[in-house]
């Protein structure tokens, strides 16, 4: 009670402490972390002043290294040095077999199904764990720069990532001990970095060609609202493919006949990358490559390079045209084209993109830094440091979600390019007398046959009340949240009985596996698992207390009766009594109860704010009329 009396009705509660949040660009070839300090977003450099962290993890027998240190091991120890792990996120072992190029790693046998595990000197590791190692280094960099524990992070993903790839990214963050405020699409992050600086109005296209992924998003910017109109992409196309084209061309020219082992292959790729970078600056070069028993020497020019990569660039441009069409726009409707990702440094890419959209692409912000910068700006808003009234992001679902129906067909439930969050319900019935369970197979993709779409998960519904065949009406709700992640709930409509839903992800981890990995990861860091869990629970509980106290101070008088208010305050007091103790179960229980006690209040507040939004708008309209 004492806390509540501190603020008079109508007065804002004491300004809370500034929260610590970062934006993370988890890239295929390199990753970055950025944060907002004294009003501007900056990428945080390491002790040597380097902003980029190579997305490379080396697993030695007794130690794991990440970044430049790991990259140095790539040639010497290719099997234990994991590069481009992003390409494996949310993929199955059978997908890896179909990749255009072979990955050098040994994959552990797991019946040829599910998530691939890489066999390293430190044991089997999953792509989620490899990504978690990269995230840990970035988080540590953030903690050091901000001098405190992080309250949360925004992590960027390619807009065209499917649900399994997004879930894998979120799992990696959880294993790394990071609280994810939001998974943000990379092109949208870039648009924030540009849009907020310039207060642009209009329609922009963001062309994002990274190391391993390509995205295009078309956005409308108006009055601080970033509305994604359409998105498209290719999660297996990037600058790495330019390097590979160069390496393969040189290999062919050299007449080298022996088997190319993983070590030579890595070295050739590195030389190819250097050639790409040189030819992005100079018209022509003379290249000499001498590696072990491999030798090649020759003159290369931009004309040759452009012809070599033209088919790859063409693929991106087709996707661009498709995205424009989906947005129901023509190239002339665009106000700006923004270039993102290191691969847009290649002059030929800029030239061709300029031709397709009919304007000079914008490159004001370093294409390597722009995504992390935008993520940091969004993190600052989400964590509550900056008012969210100024900025609103409306993103879309990149690929249609469907369910498997009779005959192996996919019936689309949530179409692509609809604004998220979104929920759609579908009714099912039982086909056997007394049937109490059913399974729903959810797939993602545009094709008609389930076999041509990506399998996401099988949802098992249990606890359907037994009835005669066809009598049960099971309403299944598919919901995609603001992170682009799917959840499913089900209810039998004639009895109102909720079914329990268990998820069997096709390529992902089940919840217990993530928890297990988190425990292992903490144990590895020689941290005290229980102490850390307690600390996190206390932080969450205090956050909840503060948010309900603030809500009561603002709306308690107007929306609650005295008795209702007393109930909530009693629940808060019980939570306060235990929050600083070390009984984690008591804290969990009281958090739960305080949440329940305030549920109805939260719903009333939401309704009240909608009402206020509508009346506010009416007021604006009146003002405009007066002025006119």
């Amino acid at each position: 009670m004492a806390l509540l009396q501190l603020s008079e009705p109508g007065m804002a509660p004491a300004p809370h402490q500034r929260k610590l949040a970062v934006g993370i660009d988890l890239g295929t070839t390199h990753s970055l972390v950025a944060t907002v300090r004294s009003g501007s977003a900056d990428v945080i450099a390491d002790h040597e002043g380097r902003k980029l962290l190579p997305s490379v993890v080396h697993y030695g027998q007794d130690q794991i290294s990440v970044g430049y240190e790991a990259r140095e091991q790539a040639v010497r120890d290719p099997l234990n040095t994991i590069i481009s792990v992003k390409r494996l996120m949310g993929r199955g072992i059978e997908d890896v077999a179909t990749f255009d190029h072979k990955m050098p790693y040994q994959f552990a046998e797991n019946e040829g199904k599910g998530m691939p595990k890489i066999d390293t000197a430190a044991g089997h590791v999953s792509p989620v764990e490899v990504s978690a190692e990269i995230l840990k280094v970035l988080a540590a960099r953030g903690r050091e720069a901000l001098d405190g524990d992080l309250d949360g992070a925004v992590i960027t993903v390619p807009a065209y990532f499917d649900e399994a790839q997004r879930q894998a990214t979120k799992d990696a963050a959880q294993v790394a001990g990071l609280k994810v405020l939001r998974l943000l699409n990379e092109p949208t992050a870039a648009a924030i970095a540009y849009g907020l600086d310039q207060e642009d109005e209009g329609v922009i296209a963001v062309y994002d060609l990274g190391g391993g992924t390509f995205d295009i998003s078309i956005l409308r910017l108006q009055a601080g609202v970033f509305e994604v109109l359409s998105t498209g992409g290719d999660t297996a196309l990037g600058g790495d493919d330019f390097d590979r084209a160069i390496a393969e061309w040189i290999l062919k020219e050299s007449g080298y006949t022996q088997d190319v082992g993983p070590s030579l292959s890595r070295q050739l790729m590195e030389r190819a990358r250097a050639i790409k970078e040189q030819l992005s600056e100079q018209e022509k070069i003379n290249a000499t490559i001498e590696l072990d028993d491999f030798y090649w020497q020759g003159d290369l020019d931009q004309h040759w390079f452009n012809a070599l990569i033209a088919p790859l660039v063409d693929r991106t441009l087709k996707v661009c045209k498709g995205a424009l069409r989906d947005a129901k726009l023509k190239a002339k409707d665009l106000t700006n084209v923004v270039m993102v990702g290191g691969s847009t440094r290649v002059p030929y890419v800029r030239q061709r993109v300029g031709e397709v959209f009919g304007c000079d692409p914008k490159v004001d912000i370093d294409p390597d830094l722009v995504v992390a910068t935008g993520a940091a700006l969004q993190a600052d808003v989400l964590v509550g440091n900056k008012s969210s009234d100024d900025m609103l992001l409306l993103d879309v679902n990149p690929l249609s979600l469907g369910i498997e129906t009779m005959g192996g067909l996919s019936e689309k439930i949530i179409p692509r390019n609809v604004t998220i969050p979104i929920a759609k319900a579908q009714e099912f019935t039982t086909y056997k007398d007394g049937q109490t369970a059913m399974a729903i197979h959810v797939v993602q993709g545009e094709r008609e046959l389930v076999a041509d779409c990506r399998s996401l998960a099988r949802f098992e519904l249990r606890g359907i009340p037994p009835m005669v065949a066809g009598a049960a009406r099971i309403r299944v709700t598919f919901q995609v949240d603001a992170d682009g992640l799917l959840s499913v709930s089900a209810k039998e409509m004639t009895t109102g009985v909720e079914s329990s839903v268990t998820v069997k992800p096709s390529y992902g981890l089940e919840e217990e596996q993530v928890t297990e990995m988190l425990k292992e990861s903490i144990a590895h860091a020689r941290d005290d698992v229980t102490a850390r869990q307690l600390r996190e629970k206390q932080v969450d509980a205090k956050g909840l207390l503060l948010s309900i106290e603030n809500a009561l101070a603002e709306d308690g008088d107007s929306l609650l009766s005295a008795a209702e208010r007393a109930d909530i305050e009693a629940a808060l007091q019980r939570l306060r009594d235990v929050v600083d103790g070390d009984d984690i179960h008591a804290i969990t229980r009281e958090v739960e109860k305080a949440g329940q006690a305030s549920n109805e209040f939260a719903a009333r507040r939401m309704d009240a704010s909608i009402k206020q939004a509508l009346s506010g708008k009416a007021l604006d309209a009146i003002n405009v009329e007066k002025e006119g």
Binding site: L394, T419, A602
Partner: protein, 179 residues
């Protein structure tokens, strides 16, 4: 104001087919500003779930209110008519004939020397038919008596036919783009 109200009430617009799109858009933005989960990233778990639910409903409402076909179907549902439950009676033979011609037109466009502009012509044709159907729907729906509502149902079924042709046309355009 709550989610229990219908989409027209949620957006505080009159329950009619013709709507002011720019006003809807402005309302949509204001509603999203208040309910989007980004506003509750620091809130309790329940608040976050609630925000997802509200924002999802508002997104769906905006989608329905701005789509000519979905809006018509929704308005019929407000009168207690579920289009899926309607017996699929015989369609107007004139309309079916016109549909066959439209399909033929589409096929010819696909194989013409300049498929892109030929497809555009078909698209214009579909648009103008759709506009006529919409006008008919407004007329029939607003009279509101049972006989007129039955006619409105027929009109919406015709809209569904046209929408299917439109989807096929978009597929063709897409293929043209990719090849």
């Amino acid at each position: 104001m709550s989610l229990k109200e219908n989409y027209f009430q949620l957006f505080e617009v009159p329950e009619q087919y013709r709507l002011d799109e720019s006003a809807l858009r402005a309302t949509y933005r204001e509603l999203q500003r208040k309910t989007h989960p980004d506003k509750f990233a620091g809130g309790s778990e329940h608040e976050q779930l609630l925000a997802v639910q509200y924002a999802a409903t508002i997104n769906d409402a905006y989608d329905v209110l701005t789509s000519p076909l979905k809006r018509a179907i929704y308005m019929l549902s407000l009168k207690g008519i579920d289009l899926d439950d309607q017996a699929s009676g015989a369609m107007d033979p004139m309309f079916l004939m016109a549909q066959m011609e439209l399909r033929e037109e589409l096929e010819q466009a696909e194989h013409s020397s300049d498929p892109e502009s030929a497809l555009e012509k078909v698209a214009e044709h579909i648009d103008s038919e759709m506009t006529q159907l919409q006008a008919a729907f407004v007329e029939q729906y607003e009279k509101g008596c049972q006989a007129e509502l039955a006619a409105a149902v027929e009109t919406v079924k015709k809209m569904q036919f046209l929408a299917k042709v439109q989807i096929d046309l978009e597929h063709l355009e897409h293929e043209l783009l990719v090849d």
